[in-house]
């Protein structure tokens, strides 16, 4: 953190003019920009996981809905957090919703007529469904914990970008 602060100071306060100094300055600028982007992203994901935890607290006991719902499954919570952390930077963060069987739905809902939902339960196989006007469907994909399945990433991107997949996944 101290090195980052020093680098920030170098970038913003530097008056160096030699080619070598300019090269160093450009490199430091790139590092600082990258660090700031990571911080902003980490903050957004941390806020999203805080929202998840708040929901889990409300639904941690059976019958949280008054209709005999099952308490939210701790494995589902763990997998959901992993899923959020593994989402590529260009994908918007989801809304969360508890399911009556203790699973968690992650929703991307740009409008009434377009939505993508992923259900995370106690299994590494993720159920998902999409609705895009009159086009709809469902499928299952395996989540390994460190990378969101490409089919799910492409599906979310298509719904959020109005049918155009513009994301590159690693």
């Amino acid at each position: 953190m101290f090195g980052y602060a020093v680098a920030q100071g170098n970038v913003r306060g530097s008056t160096a003019v030699s080619p070598e100094a300019q090269t160093i300055r450009d490199a430091v600028t790139a590092v600082v920009e990258r660090a700031e982007q990571s911080q902003a992203l980490f903050g957004a994901k941390a806020a999203s996981i805080s929202q998840l935890q708040a929901m889990v607290n409300e639904c941690s006991q059976p019958n949280w809905d008054g209709e005999d719902a099952v308490a939210i499954n701790p494995i589902a919570v763990f997998l959901t957090e992993q899923f959020v952390r593994a989402l590529p930077d260009a994908i918007p963060l989801p809304e969360f919703a508890p399911e009556p069987d203790g699973s968690i739905t992650l929703d991307w809902i740009p409008s009434h007529h377009r939505m993508f939902s992923v259900s995370v339960g106690a299994s590494a196989r993720l159920a998902y469904a999409w609705l895009d006007g009159s086009d709809k469907g469902h499928a299952v994909a395996r989540f390994e914990g460190d990378r969101v399945p490409k089919r799910i990433i492409d599906g979310i991107a298509a719904i959020m970008n109005h049918g155009y997949v513009t994301l590159r996944t690693a």
């Binding site: 929901m55 409300e58 639904c59 949280w64 809905d65 008054g66 209709e67 005999d68 719902a69 099952v70 809304e95 969360f96 919703a97 508890p98 399911e99 009556p100 069987d101 699973s103 739905t105 929703d107 809902i109 009434h112 007529h113 939505m115 939902s117 259900s119 339960g121 299994s123 196989r125 993720l126 159920a127 998902y128 469904a129 999409w130 609705l131 709809k136 469907g137 469902h138 499928a139 299952v140």
Partner: protein, 139 residues
């Protein structure tokens, strides 16, 4: 056609409004009820709804007559029985409590619960798409 204790016909008509009471704030956003609000209870394999329209006064009256009344009502979502049937489910009257009905016909695959959930999500999305969020809060 037979009549139920509430005075409603025993068959739910296509044009009837069905209201899902929402007691969880994460089951809706600023514009609509989320699909999870309609997913079936795994114990009963159906989704509980009430045969009343989008009028907030009527929704509150119906809510107060149910056994769920000690739980805060956060919102409600209303859809037509015909839209439920077009999605592939059915609306079946089930009293008491008065005006109660269930959304029945959800898929259950004993050999693949994950695929079962995926299909249920697709159906829940179809109903969420057609539903109207009603802003009511009680108490």
């Amino acid at each position: 056609m037979a009549t139920l204790p509430s005075g409603l016909p025993d068959l739910v008509a296509e044009a009837e409004d069905l209201t899902r009471f929402i007691t969880q704030t994460n089951h809706f956003n600023s514009t609509m009820a989320k699909p999870a609000a309609f997913l079936p209870n795994p114990k009963y394999r159906n989704t509980s709804v009430f045969r009343c329209g989008p009028d907030p006064e009527l929704i509150l009256q119906t809510w107060q007559k149910t056994n769920l009344g000690d739980r805060p009502l956060k919102a409600a979502a209303t859809c037509k029985a015909g839209d439920v049937r077009k999605a592939g489910l059915d609306a079946i009257a089930k009293e008491p409590p008065p005006a109660h009905a269930n959304l029945e016909g959800w898929p259950w695959f004993a050999n693949d619960p994950d695929l079962q959930k995926a299909k249920q999500l697709e159906l829940a999305q179809s109903i969420a798409q057609k539903s109207v969020l009603v802003s009511v809060a009680f108490p």
